[in-house]
């Protein structure tokens, strides 16, 4: 089934923000907005659900902390105890201050790296992936709003969008599976 979308291009993030609010007020469906840089507050204006990335970061941090404790306990206490600085390592808890930097570093390491990887997976990004930007200018100085036009009158929508400050409007027929 072919669906019809309208690409409206803007040249200013403030104008774009106002446009997004107006389009949502008219109950048109915004498929996606492509911007050259993160626009503060755009996610809220578009009505996107808040990110759950922070929760995953907390869980990854807990995993990192556990890995650090298990690893240091095995290496320094169980497998090969050594007497460093007059502190025989026969007890994890008594030597704990020495392990705190490692516990901290691995917590941060796991949280940071796994969170980035999660973010890539969630955004469907991987090496050599073809860019999805419908217009290369959105990587430079233009903002593109993709609005669903399948069940609406295209002419009314076009004039409505140009009133919101769009500098260019294109109607696109796209196949459902073309990306």
């Amino acid at each position: 089934m072919a669906s019809k979308v309208i690409h409206a291009l803007y040249t200013d993030d403030d104008v774009l923000m106002d446009a997004v609010k107006q389009v949502r007020a008219e109950h048109y469906h915004i498929e996606e907005v492509y911007t050259p840089f993160p626009v503060h507050g755009l996610d809220k204006a578009m009505g996107l659900a808040p990110t759950r990335l922070a929760i995953t970061a907390f869980m990854y941090g807990c995993v990192g902390l556990t890995v650090a404790i298990t690893m240091m306990n095995y290496i320094m206490i169980e497998d090969w105890p050594q007497n460093i600085g007059g502190k025989p390592s026969f007890s994890y808890i008594e030597n704990m201050p020495a392990f705190v930097p490692i516990m901290f570093e691995l917590t941060v390491f796991f949280a940071a790296h796994l969170m980035v990887i999660t973010f890539y997976m969630r955004s469907k990004l991987w090496p050599f992936k073809e860019a999805e930007n419908p217009d290369v200018r959105t990587t430079d100085d233009h903002f593109l709003m993709e609005v669903d036009a399948s069940h609406h009158d295209v002419d009314t929508m076009t004039s409505f969008l140009s009133n919101t400050g769009a500098v260019e409007i294109k109607v696109i027929d796209k196949q459902e599976d073309n990306h």
Partner: protein, 442 residues
């Protein structure tokens, strides 16, 4: 304009009176002679609950009795006598310093807002200015206590006692720095510099409200803020050596200034948040929104972590290297102050970490208030841990004297801060960033 309600005025006056009475009791009930100490010890041995002098735990009591027998004779009693005579002075000192450092922390935070030209915070400027009003009376009181201690009216500083300095190589070596006259001159210089900045910063801020043409006064505020911050970071560091680290004059830590800074900074920011939330709940600061509280809570969270980082850096290196003259500092604290020493890490690190980590919780006012109260108590205990081991040793206790001293200064602090709030409109309307600040959202 804010008006000081008669309820709050009465409340703070009552706090001052109760605190003064309790502290007087503390001074009067301190033992005068070795015989008094012996009598108190005998009371304790018979299980009599003698408020202040009572040991904190069963273990502790036993331990001190064992030591007593080992020592034999009067030398132990004399030692305890000096500790108990120091106790009300030390309690007074900790409380005076704690409330003074809140005002100082706020002053540094205020100067940073100007130097960084922050756009989110100008709606909070009048609260900050009011809190720094305590700098002057609080600083004068602290100065008097420092002068009394530096000239050996009490026995808080061991280096002030000439009989102790003679024959002690380290203390003799440090005597050119640590002596009454030079010590009190430095204190006057530090306090004078901070008060001077406070005076002009507030003056320029008020002038900017009246005359905004060309932001002339704002630019002056920016310049003195930048100058003050340079002055502050040197003098604050030196003041923390003088006023706190010199309680243990045989010991030193190179990051001590930063450590005290972290403590005073987080206490100051927490106080800004608490007073702002209080004023908002009374309907005075409608222009402060959730995002401002959120940002203050972020600072409370972040600086708490920073404090822990410094606390741990100081602890771990000394613990690991285990050099006798260094590690004795922590051995005293872990053996005699186990509960406050580790309790403060829970209050200042674990608690804010868990409570303030979630973004949404930073916007819930009662959550921020609860976390703030715990943080403030935790940093009182932090100062307590810095001062008490060298002044009262194992005779410490948080009892009538200590709590009274806190109440006395809390009452004074509340009275002066809220009185200062009535002096100017609560919105610094002339500030060039005031509109940005009003519309600040996260």
């Amino acid at each position: 304009m804010y008006t000081l309600s008669s309820k709050l005025r009465l409340f703070s006056i009552i706090l001052v009176i109760i605190g003064a009475l309790g502290l007087t009791y503390g001074f009067l009930s301190a033992p005068k002679t070795i015989e008094d100490v012996k009598e108190m010890a005998a009371h304790d041995a018979h299980g009599g609950g003698h408020g202040d002098a009572k040991a904190t735990s069963g273990d502790h009591a036993n331990e001190s009795h064992v030591k007593e027998e080992a020592h034999g004779g009067d030398s132990h009693y004399e030692h305890t006598l000096h500790q108990l005579q120091n106790k009300p002075w030390a309690a007074l000192y900790v409380a005076a310093f704690f409330f003074f450092m809140i005002a100082l922390g706020v002053l540094a935070f205020y100067a940073i807002q100007f130097a960084s030209q922050a756009g989110w915070s100008p709606v909070l400027f009048r609260v900050m200015e009011a809190i720094t009003a305590y700098l002057v009376p609080g600083g004068i009181i602290l100065f008097v206590i420092l002068a009394l201690s530096g000239f050996h009216v009490n026995h808080l500083f061991v280096w002030a006692d000439e009989t102790k300095v003679v024959g002690d190589k380290l203390l003799e070596g440090k005597a050119s720095w640590l002596n009454g006259g030079w010590f009190i001159f430095r204190a006057a210089f530090f306090l004078g510099g901070w008060m001077l900045y406070r005076h002009f910063a507030v003056k320029y801020s008020r002038k900017q409200d009246e005359d905004t043409t060309g932001n002339k006064w704002y630019k002056k505020s920016f310049k003195i803020a930048a100058g003050f911050l340079v002055f502050f970071i040197y003098t604050e560091s030196m003041a923390s050596w003088d006023w706190i680290m010199s309680f243990d004059p045989h010991w030193f830590s190179t990051l001590f200034g930063w450590y005290v800074f972290a403590s005073l900074f987080v206490s100051g920011i927490t106080t800004i948040a608490l007073i702002t939330i209080y004023l908002k709940s009374k309907g005075y600061m409608d222009f402060v929104n959730d995002s401002h509280i959120h940002d203050l809570a972020k600072f409370m969270f972040g600086v708490s972590i920073f404090w822990t980082y410094l606390w741990f850096s100081q602890f771990m290196l000394i613990w690991y290297s285990n050099i006798p003259e260094e590690v004795t500092y922590f051995i005293t604290r872990i053996e005699d102050y186990k509960l406050p020493f580790f309790g403060m890490v829970v209050m200042n690190f674990v608690f804010p970490l868990l409570v303030l980590m979630n973004s949404d919780y930073k916007r819930i006012n009662w959550f921020v208030v609860m976390a703030g109260i715990i943080i403030l108590c935790g940093h009182y205990v932090d100062i307590f841990n810095m001062v008490m081991p060298a002044t009262v040793g194992e005779s410490w206790f948080i009892g009538v004297t200590e709590i009274s001293a806190v109440l006395l200064f809390l009452g004074l602090f509340l009275f002066i801060v809220f009185k200062a709030l009535t002096k100017a409109p609560l919105l610094a309307k002339g500030n060039p960033y005031i509109e940005e600040s009003k519309h600040f959202h996260y």
